[in-house]
């Protein structure tokens, strides 16, 4: 699915400031850029120049050697031509073009694969961040955090987007006990090792801060300016439904994925027990000859609850089988350091 148009391979300038640990970790040569900024573009041709200029200015001020990777998610406008023009002039710019529109998670993955830097910044063109303010995230990383999320303030989005986003973040804070204002900003910075240790699929990339915090990484946020302009609002209700389902996925993934029967078994047993009690009551009722039970709706309700309860337990057992089958491939922990040889 990937067609890589690499305009430059090596960076020209020597890095201005070396972060020792970042380099020695993989033994990489220090002619590679220290920073890789990944910018997914989807029909943002008209903004390409603005984004590039703001990014360049911000990053040059920050002072670390950098590369900018634009990932063109099969745009139908002139995005490709615009970025290609930039890339031919500036060797620090890489262009990756997806063959078909695949979404931001795929763009992130493709960008990650071709990024040379030890620290990565992910900033989607969609959210119209003022790219000049991105180095704020990097300064926060310098303080020792493992992942920094951009918090769009003040928000310039369309009203509906803001309301939905507020709701989403409120729900996430309640469910996952993560104190971040703007989890879904699609802007974040992190060392490569942090991102590489996480498996992200589907459109779960907006949950990367949540998943990172779950792995025990130190996650924080930093304010990012947003540019005013034409924002797209979601045109389908289905997008909101999907978002809601994603939340359920993440809650399940972070809490119960390693012990599905503890979760499903709990509800399964409650349902089964309720169904059993109802039907036992009817059984006794009939045996003692209080009257006919065939016409009692309670009979159906009881049977239904019993059936649903048993199915929940079955699904839980299948979940346990899936995990057991893959238990030797899945690591359930994240090691910070090992002391001793």
């Amino acid at each position: 699915m990937l067609e890589t148009t690499k305009i430059s391979v090596s960076s020209v300038e020597p890095p201005a400031r070396l972060v020792e640990s970042d380099i020695s970790e993989n033994g990489r040569s220090n002619t590679l850029p220290l920073l890789s900024v990944i910018v997914p573009m989807s029909n943002h041709g008209s903004e390409a120049q603005t984004i590039y200029r703001a990014l360049r200015q911000g990053l040059e001020n920050y002072g670390q050697s950098f590369e900018i990777i634009f990932v063109d998610d099969a745009s139908t406008d002139d995005t490709y031509a615009q970025v290609l023009a930039i890339a031919t002039r500036d060797p620090r710019v890489k262009l990756i073009r997806m063959r078909a529109a695949c979404g931001e998670t795929s763009a992130l993955d493709a960008g990650l694969r071709h990024a040379a830097g030890q620290r990565l910044v992910f900033a989607s063109a969609r959210v119209r961040a003022n790219m000049q303010t991105l180095p704020r995230l990097l300064r926060k990383l310098d303080e020792g955090f493992d992942l920094v999320v951009g918090w769009r303030t003040p928000r310039q989005d369309a009203g509906l987007n803001r309301v939905v986003s507020r709701l989403f973040n409120w729900l996430m804070q309640k469910l996952l006990k993560l104190k971040l204002h703007d989890i879904n900003s699609s802007i974040f910075a992190a060392p490569r090792r942090v991102l590489e240790s996480m498996t992200v699929y589907g459109n779960l990339n907006i949950f990367i801060p949540v998943l990172a915090a779950h792995q025990g990484y130190k996650v924080t946020e930093e304010q990012i300016e947003q540019l005013p302009g034409a924002f797209r609002t979601s045109s389908h209700v289905s997008e909101y439904v999907q978002r809601l389902l994603d939340i359920i996925t993440v809650v399940f993934l972070t809490r119960y994925s390693k012990k599905p029967l503890h979760f499903l078994g709990f509800f399964g047993i409650i349902f089964t027990a309720a169904g059993l009690v109802m039907n036992l009551y009817l059984f006794v009722y009939r045996i003692l000859d209080f009257g006919a039970i065939a016409g009692r709706p309670l009979l159906l309700l009881g049977a239904l609850l019993l059936v649903i309860g048993l199915q929940m337990i079955s699904i839980g057992l299948i979940g346990e089988m899936i995990i057991y089958t893959h238990a030797r491939e899945i690591k359930e922990y994240n090691i910070e350091t090992v002391v001793g040889k």
Binding site: L299, S314, I322, E336, V339, K341
Partner: protein, 327 residues
Amino acid sequence: MTQNDNQVFCSVVIPVMNEEENVPHLHQAITGAMQAWGRPYEIVIVDDGSTDRTFPLLEEIARRDPHLRVVKFRRNFGQSAAMGAGFEYARGEVVVTMDGDLQNDPKDIPLVVAELQKGYDVVSGWRKNRQDRLIIRKVPSRLANRLIRKTTQVNLHDTGCSLKAYRREVVQKIRLYGEMHRFIPALARIEGARIGEVVVDHHERKFGRSKYNLMRTFKVIMDLATLNLFLKYLTRPLHFFGALTLLFNGLGAATLLAMIFYSAQNNLSIAELNVLMSLGFLLVATGINFLLYGLIANMVVKTGQKHDERLHEIVHFPKRGFGAGNN
């Protein structure tokens, strides 16, 4: 660096969490016992996200003692994960696990290992004279052990004892996940291990407290149900779900037959017949669902790692005539 990787005979794996008071004693006691024993050893302590001074203390000890290795988690991931990490970093031919609270005596390590070398894959300690208060801990523990014996086919008096020894092969083979650290012998049993036990000492907990609660009991029961299923049906889950299919389809058929019988007799109202019919259909549909679950479960098991490869040893393997000519 006094020893080579393959020279370690015994790895002592200990998961700890917020045990700052115990850690120095623990290290001292184990070192004393192992030095007296004289076999090459290493200690692998997994710090499961301690928030007190446990890790700095361990780090300091590790600087002085080349036998000690400390694995530090980024956050608290639970005892199963800690045990799993310990197994991964252990390099000895024999892996001994212990709790960090010094309720077991490290002097018993040679004893457990000696039992292991009699031909077992797993040897568990048995705290025959427990130092806990009678009713509160002994009785529930005895009941739990009986239940565990029945459901997991592991004949141990005291599964809860954390002092256990494993052959390296077993540690590499078992699949530890979720909160299954309580049932490592059962997990080993699923992989076909031979399990033994030996009586060990038991001291009262010096610092800190351990806790019991209802939710934990529920989780334990769920885990036991899972283990029981794995033990019997891991390689053929359709047989398990198929039984449920038969049961529900039988009930459904009986209900529908009763409905037909009553409608022929004409002594039930239409509404009553409707309820009976719905019930019959519901039961049949459920039965079919279970069949489908069974098929999916079969797919899950077949697409994963092979489960049929159980532990075994080659005792005597005479050369047969037909292979003789071409070697």
